[in-house]
């Protein structure tokens, strides 16, 4: 093989290796991502049955957070539209962890509940100052009242 063709061969091989590494990493991410998370209803349907460890994603049910007084252990419920899953976790929680926050937890099933080794909070893409958020929440509540026709609690006494 003459030197020019040999060099071109090396070029092609190097390019292919680089493309393969890039492609391989992407596929790897997709593999993880195909099952990046299961929702509580999916887990209840049994979709996660073949996985020892998997990710559970959903919203923290309002009022379900219970922290133990003497350790870092905490229990809460993750919900989606059709399902719920109790979760147990020992460790430090992210700053954004609270009621109605989206969470992604990694762990395994044990006796019908999910034991998490990692709890990540997911936040949305909206950014605004607190005053605006409060004003929006107030307006939203007012609108809801108007829509349902319920009288606000400060009702007239009979």
């Amino acid at each position: 093989m003459n030197p020019t063709r040999k060099r071109r061969l090396i070029i092609v091989v190097m390019v292919l290796i680089a493309a393969a590494v890039a492609g391989g990493l992407t596929v790897f991410a997709l593999q993880q991502n195909m099952n990046y998370l299961f929702t509580p209803s999916q887990v209840q349907e049994g979709q996660a049955r073949s996985y020892k460890t998997f990710r559970l994603g959903g919203m923290v049910k309002e009022g379900s957070i219970q922290r133990s007084s003497d350790s870092l252990k905490v229990t809460f419920t993750v919900v989606d539209a059709d399902g719920a899953m109790p979760v147990e976790y020992t460790g430090i929680l992210p700053d954004l962890f609270r009621d109605n926050q989206s969470v992604i937890t990694t762990g395994h099933m044990e006796d019908g509940h999910f034991v998490a080794t990692e709890v990540l909070a997911k936040h949305d893409e909206t950014y605004m100052p607190k005053e605006l958020k409060d004003a929006m929440a107030k307006a939203h509540k007012g609108r809801k009242v108007a829509e349902t026709g319920d009288q606000p609690p400060a009702a007239t006494k009979p």
Binding site: A29, L30, V119, L120, K122, E125, P129
Partner: protein, 252 residues
């Protein structure tokens, strides 16, 4: 074929003409980048209010998002120049493509590091293999691959050709990075700044962000001018116009 190219564009393809043009453009672009950057920094760090859910941690956005945008934008410029270089063999296109790579890599590195610093408290982790983060890492590897391939050859023009091929193959990653948050379940949230439709950020936060996006673009042009000029001097060392510059500078 070249009849549809205007004369001024044709002339700009000549190294000494471009060298002079870039030399004039450079200081203006740097000045714009610095002024707009300072305005954006003041707007983002001082004027903008804290976020209702992320507090002051969200302020990383003012360097993270513009850098992410530049990482993708520069890759596009690099891929287009690479295409022109491969098809028309225009030396200047090769230089623009090869010299864009380190700048793109720099912005991508900034994106990854600032993203980790942001995520460690807000998400609860430095890193996760979701589609957005992984494809951004792939972007960095592609940039490094282009740089590495370019320098792996004795013959610079051959190196440029091989690296240009890699740059072209990798262009598929750019839409993957951008749409990853829509196509897959990701930890990373969706896009805040939208081209079509309202952006999900209050005005006081969005104007510093957009200002920094313009500032980083000006910086890219400035840096590209510097790098292309240095590269042209290296490539065209034997030519008269370069000798004149070398002689002129030693006279100082």
């Amino acid at each position: 074929m070249s009849s549809w190219i205007p004369l001024w564009l044709h002339k700009l393809g000549s190294p000494p003409t471009f060298y002079r043009f870039a030399g004039k453009l450079r200081p203006w672009m740097l000045a714009l980048a610095i002024v707009l950057g300072l305005v954006a920094l003041y707007g983002g760090l001082v004027l903008a209010p804290p976020d209702y859910q992320q507090g002051d941690d969200y302020r990383i956005i003012f360097v993270h998002v513009p850098s992410a945008w530049m990482g993708l934008f520069i890759y596009g410029v690099m891929a287009v120049s690479a295409f022109i270089a491969l098809v028309w063999r225009i030396k200047l296109a090769e230089v623009v493509a090869m010299e864009s790579a380190p700048i793109g890599a720099a912005f991508t590195l900034i994106t990854l590091v600032t993203g980790s610093l942001w995520g460690v408290r807000m998400w609860g982790t430095w890193w996760t293999w979701d589609a957005r983060l992984t494809s951004e890492l792939v972007l960095l590897f592609l940039y490094l691959g282009v740089i590495g391939l370019y320098h792996a050859f004795e013959d610079r023009r051959q190196g440029a050709r091989a690296a240009a091929f890699l740059a072209l193959i990798g262009i598929i990653n750019v839409p993957i990075v951008h749409f990853s948050v829509n196509w897959w379940n990701t930890l990373h949230q969706g896009s805040t700044v939208r081209l079509f439709g309202p952006s999900t950020m209050t005005d006081s936060m969005i104007w510093p962000l957009l200002t920094m996006m313009v500032a980083t673009k000006c910086y890219y042009v400035f840096s590209l001018c510097s790098r292309v000029r240095a590269d042209l001097l290296a490539l065209e060392g034997g030519k008269d116009w370069v000798r004149q510059i070398a002689a002129g500078e030693s006279a100082r």
